[in-house]
Amino acid sequence: MDGKTARSLQSLSEEVATNPNSTAFVELAAAYRERGDSERALRLCLRGLQRHPTHVEAHFELGLIYEARGERELALDEWGIVRQLAPDHVASRLALIRLYLDEKRYVDAEIELNAARERAPADSAVAELWQALQAARRDAAPDQAESAASAGLFAALEREQPGTLGVMLVGGDGQLLEGRMTRRGVESDRMLGVTLNGAKSEATRVASHLGLGELQGIVIESAVARLTVSPVSDGIVIVATRAEVPAGQAARLVQRARQIAETHLGDKQR
């Protein structure tokens, strides 16, 4: 949908107006987006998707509109839907990769790039993005080494508590301050920290809006692991345990990790 639209706005508008079932709304929305009218593009696309909820190009276009509006999370949602509806839709994977690279989410970018290379091995855009990923990783290497040096704050706690998968302290700006979590490396830990810091901000807003008072924490459980996000004075502590660790035991671990983090942050301030 990038580039000049083939048909005129007037012709597309007429078709959409006269035939509500037409899928020309996608092209029309793209035209509005390219002219900078993302508000009208968004309305058109959302309305069109009510009639055509599985229209792949409409979801892709909606992602581009959200991206143009700076609503990246929503853009990711839409391109994620495209990926589910049409796994071979390379354009949506390229859009995802660009966004991941922009956000320095190199592990996610690599996963998408590998999928894109399988589907479109001769695509020059895929090759360019692969080179961009390699270059970005080279540039980021010194920062990664610096972060990796500070994994020891929670090491004793992790050893003491069986079933602990990792503990991290993330600053208020989303920067990984201490600890480690995943075996995929520092970059993956960083991204987890940034994303969960965003989740904590969102949870704070939810709690406040619903009159629930101050946020105490978020627990996210899957079949294999439990992740607890707890606010501390200037950041969050993230604790991951295996799912089979009893909830009460995990809660005690979280409490101790918070104490360690608060002491560490207090020492730093002094």
Binding site: A207, V219, S222
Partner: protein
């Protein structure tokens, strides 16, 4: 209007301290069915909590059809969300609710919800 979710909602509401139970479409945060006490803004809970749930699932790399349980704990109460796909069960708890009992009720209801939707 009667929906197939009445029994599930009633079971969640029967846990001590639960002030609201909602079946919510995760993708858009809209209420599919729900029971709430006076003072609980069901639509707002659904919209805000669904967004948080989506973000939490993304952060932890949840794949389609994989179950997730998300709990928001605050000074004045809790919100629990459990689901396997596009529909999730949510519960709003007062501060002194029996958390363990509510958690079991929400997770069981989410399993039954998935079964109703043919996903279990």
């Amino acid at each position: 209007m009667r929906t197939p979710y009445g029994n599930l909602l009633a079971k969640v509401m029967s846990a001590p301290g639960v002030r609201g139970a909602l079946v919510v479409a995760v993708r858009d945060g809209l209420v599919v069915d729900g029971r709430v006490h006076v003072g609980v803004e069901g639509e707002a809970v659904a919209a805000l909590a669904a967004s948080l749930y989506r973000r939490a699932c993304r952060a932890t790399g949840a794949a389609e059809g994989k179950g997730r349980f998300v709990e928001l704990e605050a000074d004045g109460g809790r919100i629990m969300i459990a689901g396997k796909n596009d529909l999730a069960m949510m519960a709003v708890l007062q501060r002194r609710a029996n958390t363990g009992q509510a958690r079991v009720a929400v997770q069981r209801a989410a399993d039954e919800l998935a079964a109703l939707e043919g996903l279990a």
